[in-house]
Symmetry: C2
């Protein structure tokens, strides 16, 4: 495992990793992608020297080791400011920051019971799924009010809010949460998934199959 200018990614299904990958692409940066398999490789001393909590993604750039995807995005924005991915207006910035943090702290944890459905597997406890859908819809309503007549959150051009929320929300219809009640969010999703950075980082059918069988093993173990 060697790192020059690189980032460590498990697979693009991990939104934590994919948001860094998309940002590197949107900024047109050169980088080397290093896969760290989460089957034990994350505990190797050379990876722990970069990511002491054995979490992905990590970034090595210009002699600096970085962990925490949102910290990495902010570093990339400061170090490589063109194209700008943070608005200069303070209210617009507030919107971008809220979308980033609400995605991490409210939306992602709420989606856990919907994962099997997203992958086409049978769902678990119907009550938990219903609660998850309720929580997700609270986030979607909030995000819908934060979008105005501009194509992106608080901006005419893509911001850091997009790689963060835009790697989660397009998966929701597959998890049983259609977006047709949220016309602005639906149009925003279509706008993102048409971009080369989204298409290049899309999970392949093979990756989805691998994740499916991993999840099935987990489900059958917890049921047995």
């Amino acid at each position: 495992m060697r790192f020059s200018r690189a980032k460590a990614v498990s697979d693009p299904i991990s939104p934590n990793s994919r948001r860094v990958w998309i940002t590197l692409l949107e900024k047109g940066l050169e980088f080397e992608l290093v896969a760290v398999k989460l089957n034990g490789e994350q505990f190797k001393p050379e990876f722990l020297a970069i990511s002491p909590f054995h979490h992905i993604p990590a970034l090595v750039d210009d002699g600096l080791n970085m962990v925490e995807s949102l910290a990495i995005l902010d570093y990339l924005e400061a170090k490589y400011p063109q194209p700008a991915m943070l608005p200069s207006d303070t209210k617009d910035l507030a919107v971008v920051r809220m979308v980033e943090l609400v995605t991490i702290n409210e939306l992602l944890p709420a989606t856990t019971p919907l994962f099997p459905l997203m992958l086409g597997l049978p769902g678990g406890d119907p009550e938990k799924i219903e609660q998850a859908k309720q929580k997700v819809s609270t986030v979607l309503k909030f995000f819908e009010t934060l979008l105005d007549d501009r194509p992106f959150f608080g901006s005419q051009t893509i911001t850091l809010a997009e790689p963060v929320a835009g790697t989660v929300i397009p998966w929701l219809p597959g998890g049983g949460v259609p977006l047709n009640h949220y016309p602005k969010l639906s149009a925003w999703c279509a706008r993102l998934t048409a971009r080369p950075a989204w298409q290049e980082t899309e999970a392949t059918p093979k990756m989805i199959e691998t994740l499916k069988s991993r999840l099935q093993t987990m489900i059958s173990k917890s049921a047995g």
Copy 2:
């Protein structure tokens, strides 16, 4: 409950709220502090209109409703840039962002089993406490390497890293994690707790007693 320029806080024991309070004080801003009691008051329609996920803290400023403490800190920095609380050097900024996010995503979740000890109550499962101490020490080692000969993380003056990590780390010795192996962090802690913004927002003995009895009820319920 009326908000002008205000923030909603439960009590200063909540580091999520206290980090916003300290930042407002360090920036010398005028604000009105609005207490939201987490006994149901957070579900009232007037609070949900501001914080749809019924979480604290929230900030209302200049007609803008904000949630998510780290988003609020970034907004305050952009709107009220003096005194500056983010470094301009990109590597220093990377350090500040990592300290903020590692505190939220690694340190705070790891400290949960240490809460009773911090409040002078009997601890729970010794194995869980030992695991918690291990995780906490990984964070402390990491933070110790991020401090250099400057008094604050990546800076000669206080940054946003300080209200975030500096409302958690000073509690650790009370939870059975002494800081004497971390000379830079120890000195940094002493520097912070001597500041008026830390002293003004310190939990009162009465608040600690209230939290203690709440925690004791929870423990006895889960044991029964």
